[in-house]
């Protein structure tokens, strides 16, 4: 960490990072972002996002600006307009929805092949969400179904999460923070 970073840390100025939060509808994107916010700023009722919403939260060294995109089919074509600004991607998957795993894979493949993403070494964090649901798939199974092993040129990480309780979220955000720091230095 450079001198300026330290100085900035002392002054309470943190580096800004733009993160895109993507995933199918009803996968829990807004719930996850809501969980990551300080407890006094958390919303009680989560409703389906329309278009997108911008949320901010801070970790020990970074200040995250999250573009929480709507996952509904008719809004998914908005995603690509924000690819340029994103410095990291959070991709949320509903582990309990086996039927739509192919749809999640299709959207992920479209994302990875987009010209704004394809040649950038951008970290991708996968949240295999809804682990609390009884017949949810494990994170290993999810990564198999999405063929994550084929992503060779980007750092990625998958976490099994339960956004309702907040399990597994911190691990993922810590990984993302490390990745962003190593990219900067």
């Amino acid at each position: 960490m450079g001198l300026f970073d330290k100085l900035a840390g002392w002054l309470g100025l943190k580096k800004e990072v733009n993160v895109l939060c993507l995933g199918l509808d009803n996968s829990g994107k807004t719930t996850i972002i809501n969980r990551l916010k300080p407890s006094n700023a958390q919303a009680q009722d989560i409703v389906p996002t329309i278009g997108f919403s911008i949320e901010k939260f801070k970790t020990s060294s970074l200040s995250f600006t999250v573009f929480d995109m709507s996952g509904q089919g008719r809004y998914r074509n908005l995603w690509e307009h924000y690819y340029k600004e994103g410095q990291a991607i959070i991709f949320v998957i509903d582990s309990a929805d086996k039927l739509r795993m192919v749809v999640a894979k299709e959207e992920l493949d479209t994302l990875l092949n987009h010209p704004d993403i394809k040649h950038r070494r951008i970290p991708i964090l996968f949240f295999a969400n809804k682990m609390d649901v009884r017949d949810a798939l494990s994170s290993v199974k999810v990564s198999q179904l999405l063929c994550l092993e084929n992503i060779k040129d980007k750092p990625w990480h998958i976490c099994a999460t339960d956004a309702l309780k907040g399990d597994g979220l911190q691990e993922g955000v810590d990984w993302l923070q490390d990745q962003i720091k190593t990219m900067r230095t």
Binding site: G73, R74, D97, R100, E106
Partner: protein, 583 residues
């Protein structure tokens, strides 16, 4: 969950699920999608026919898993999900038609059973059975009497009497003993079922049930009280139907019947309003907007307007096994899915084939709609009992191109023909009145024209004005120009090769003239290769040696090397030399 196993659909569908041993034996009429728990996730409701005589079940799928199943008493003829009341939360009920009854399930529990009213019973038959009950006649006499009633009566016999007639003599006694105390009833059975919105067109509006019966009737049932609101009769037993509109406003029931006709019923009358007579029996009926698409046993798909006018017909590669509508309101897309016996499912918009899905087995039922949270889901069951779920890609686009050979689309575009002017009308009238005179005048002028042309030709031939070669291999054309006043003249011969693409080579020009009058600088000229089409000027100089003021003809010959006869000859009338000899 395998992907990419069966391609050929142009990558428009995602293979979400395939279970070849799901054990689902059903038809499109017994499959529906409905949000049965009110959580925004649609479930798949299937009336499973089992083996055909046992194992009939009502099955509900959620995602890839079977969520619940309950036993059905009889073979299901049709299954629909419908809203029967306005209670919150808005959860639809499921109606299963089997035999003469409709079983209504709410929250997947049996809720109500509706039985169709019995039909009129033959009074003679009733009397005969009455006598049996009183012990006045024995089974053999009963059989004879029933036989005679069966032949004569207008009202058919009940199922019990028919069954009795089919029995062997040994079993008759037991049968009579078992059944004689029960009154005779004649029941019809349900052949098809549909839903009709009662008063609002909302997606979650209360719907009436519409049922077609073996007795060639169509009933509309009130969804809450289950009383018959309306009864309509058809000339034949219905096999498939489509219902649109609202009961309180205006509705239209399109029914395919067993006599090979399609009837269209409307609100105001209890008899069919329109009739479509098909050349072969219908196997499937789907409505797309205002048009009806019918699949027939002669492997054809036909489109009709809602008034029964035939729009188009297209021939398919194999017999049709099932049909379903594909309606995507969010994309404004409507098409027909047709399952074929050659393991294909084809997608048609009007008569145009948009895409083909290859399946590992013959598809027996197709259902398209919202399943789970995905709007464009295609659910198919196969002959072997498999369940297949495909999801339409978000980026999939079906191009409207007419792939079938036929007239180009430009042909059907209406031309902007201008209105008839007064002049045009007058002219037409004149032509109509004086047709004979005009024709004669035209023929006369034509003959004159021909005569003039022939005369000119003869004149040209006689005077060799523009000589032309008649040879096919060297078609040549030449004209000559004489310039000058004399005694020196310049003679220019313009030679042209009139062949389409063949050059002419090895040509020469020679002249024949009176040597006492003229002197030529070069009486023999070689012509270069003649490229087709170009005009080549060949020049030479002629000197008149006489000062007596007379002129003569110079003959020009175009010759081919090695051949004695000239290809072309021309006579040039030389002008009189006006100049004086310098020497």
């Amino acid at each position: 969950m395998s992907s990419g196993e069966w391609s050929g659909d142009g990558g428009k569908w995602l293979d979400a699920h395939y279970d070849p041993v799901a054990g689902l034996y059903t038809f499109s009429s017994c499959v529906d999608l409905a949000d049965l728990s009110g959580d925004g996730e649609s479930r798949l409701v299937v009336g499973d026919l089992g083996s055909g005589c046992s194992g009939m079940k009502l099955k509900v799928y959620r995602g890839t898993a079977l969520m619940s199943e309950s036993t059905l008493l009889d073979l299901p003829a049709g299954l629909v999900a419908f809203f029967m009341d306005l209670h919150e939360p808005r959860i639809p009920a499921v109606a299963v038609a089997s035999g003469p009854c409709i079983y209504v399930y709410k929250n997947l529990r049996p809720y109500f059973k509706f039985t169709l009213p019995g039909l009129e019973v033959n009074t003679l038959e009733q009397d005969v059975w009455q006598q049996v009950r009183e012990g006045q006649i024995d089974p053999l006499t009963l059989k004879e009497m029933l036989e005679s009633i069966r032949k004569k009566a207008d009202v058919p016999l009940s199922v019990r009497s028919l069954r009795f007639l089919s029995l062997d003599a040994d079993d008759m006694d037991d049968f009579v003993q078992l059944h004689k105390l029960q009154p005779i009833r004649r029941q019809t059975v349900i052949t098809c079922i549909g839903t009709l919105k009662k008063s609002t067109a909302d997606e979650d509006g209360v719907s009436c049930l519409v049922i077609g019966t073996e007795s060639s009737d169509v009933f509309i049932l009130d969804p809450e009280a289950f009383i018959i609101l309306s009864k309509m009769s058809l000339p034949a037993a219905p096999t498939a139907m489509d219902v649109t509109g609202q009961f309180d406003v205006e509705f239209r029931i399109t029914v395919a019947c067993r006599n090979g006709n399609i009837y269209i019923l409307r609100r105001e009358s209890d008899k069919p309003k329109y009739c479509i007579e098909l050349s072969s029996h219908p196997v499937g009926l789907v409505r797309l907007g205002k048009n009806v698409v019918v699949g027939c046993t002669d492997e054809s798909l036909q489109g009709f307007t809602q008034k029964g006018k035939k729009l188009w017909r297209t021939v398919l590669a194999a017999p049709i096994t099932t049909m379903a509508a594909m309606d995507l309101p969010t994309r404004g897309f409507q098409a027909v899915l047709v399952g074929l016996a050659n393991c294909e499912v084809q997608l048609f918009r009007d008569k145009n084939l948009l895409s083909t899905i290859k399946t590992p087995d013959v598809v027996t039922s197709i259902c398209f709609g919202r399943y789970g949270r995905e709007d464009g889901t295609l659910i198919m069951t196969t002959k072997g009992g498999g369940l297949m779920v495909k999801i339409l890609k978000r980026t999939a686009a079906f191009d409207d191109r007419d792939s079938a050979p036929g007239p180009p689309p430009a042909q059907s575009i209406r031309l902007n023909v201008p209105k008839k002017t007064k002049l045009y009308v007058d002219q037409t009238l004149r032509e109509r009145e004086n047709g004979l005179v005009m024709h004669r005048a035209f023929q006369m002028d034509l003959s004159r024209l021909r005569l003039a042309a022939a005369k000119a030709y003869v004149k040209a031939l006689e005077s060799s004005l523009t000589p032309m070669s008649s040879s096919l291999t060297e078609p040549l054309k030449m004209n000559a120009v004489v310039q000058g006043l004399g005694p020196s003249f310049k003679l220019t011969l313009n030679v042209q090769n009139t062949a389409a693409c063949r050059p002419v080579m090895n040509l020469a020009i020679s002249f024949l003239y009176d040597e006492s009058l003229y002197r030529m600088r070069s009486p023999y000229l070689r012509i270069p290769l003649l490229v087709p089409g170009l005009i080549y000027p060949v020049e030479t100089f002629v000197e008149c040696t006489s000062d007596k003021g007379i002129s003569d003809i110079i003959k020009v010959f175009v010759l081919h090397e090695g051949r004695s006869s000239p290809l072309l000859t021309a006579h040039i009338n030389m002008p009189v030399s006006e100049g004086l000899m310098l020497s």
